[in-house]
């Protein structure tokens, strides 16, 4: 039948179009699924401790002391800002690094962050951080996936009919059984 031919063409070509986005959403999906306090899917966060010269008694922290701390840590990144978190702790913000200094002891805790190459960008798209135009593209992709499912369903016939029915039923039953079990 003629409609079966068009159904096959639609299924095939939509499938081709969806490959890139499906891989992005699949990889990002696994990463985002495992977000926790110890795993950020988009950034590498490294914490380390060090000690620098303490602030001299009676002195207020100033730019000279900030420069001294950065020099002792060998930090050459772009300086962003500095803030006093409380009377005894100063936080220095460097591009990709924040440095907490306990003024009385010189104890330092550094938190270095870096984007996970590839994963940051995939999560950016998957989580739709861009909004605007990406919302439209993501909606089109969702419709395309729906079409892929419907055209796939219409291809269940012939010698693979039983296999198609079984696998399709299993795919539909899995979320339903899960919801039945947990809700």
């Amino acid at each position: 039948m003629r409609w079966r031919k068009w159904n096959f063409i639609l299924h095939r070509d939509i499938g081709y179009l969806c490959i890139g986005l499906t891989l992005i959403y699949a990889i990002s999906g696994v990463a985002v699924n495992h977000t926790s306090h110890s795993f950020n899917p988009s950034y590498t966060i490294e914490k380390s401790a060090a000690t620098v010269s303490k602030l001299e008694d009676g002195k207020q922290p100033d730019r000279e002391y900030v420069n001294q701390v950065l020099a002792e840590l060998g930090e050459t990144g772009t300086f962003k800002n500095v803030a006093m978190l409380n009377p005894s702790t100063m936080r220095i913000f460097i591009e990709g690094n924040s440095i907490d200094v306990t003024l009385a002891t010189g104890a330092v805790i550094q938190e270095k962050i870096a984007r996970k190459p590839g994963l940051f960008e995939m999560n950016y798209l998957h989580l739709n951080k861009h909004k605007k135009s990406w919302t439209l593209i993501a909606d089109i992709y969702a419709i395309a996936l729906g079409l892929l499912a419907v055209t796939g369903l219409l291809m269940i016939r012939g010698k693979n009919k039983l296999r198609g029915i079984l696998f399709t039923s299993a795919g539909i039953a899995l979320p339903l059984l899960f919801l039945f079990a947990v809700l």
Partner: protein, 153 residues
Amino acid sequence: MSKILSFLFVTLLFSPSVYAQELQLGDPITLTEVTKVSEINAHPEKYKGKKVLIEGMIINVCAARGCWMDIASDVPFEKIQVKVVDGEIVFPMEAKGRNAKVEGIAEELKLSREQAIAMGKHRAEEQGGEFDPSSITGPVSFLRIRGLGAIIQ
């Protein structure tokens, strides 16, 4: 068609907004008058439930989901938390140390001692720091901003 999609993909991936110096997040800011964080902290009853625009340095960002950030007050050692619905707005980790304008609703959060301890532990886990439960001696209430839109400069 696939070429168009590839072009769109590459364009979005490297579009300036991903790496922009100034990031606009969430709804556009509508207020023009900035309310000082110290003013909100000093008079929480006056601002509870009201839409405000605040401005200040971002001193901390949620390390797990980017769902909150702390804005430094104009008064030393003070701050205010901006909380957003997970996923609606995601504050980037790189925002720390940058200046932000945030528009949102000032809301009061009332916590029992147990809830306050749980929140303290949660934040310590997120930040990898330590938390002393004995520092919480009773119910806690504080004002935070439910963020609707932000500009990170």
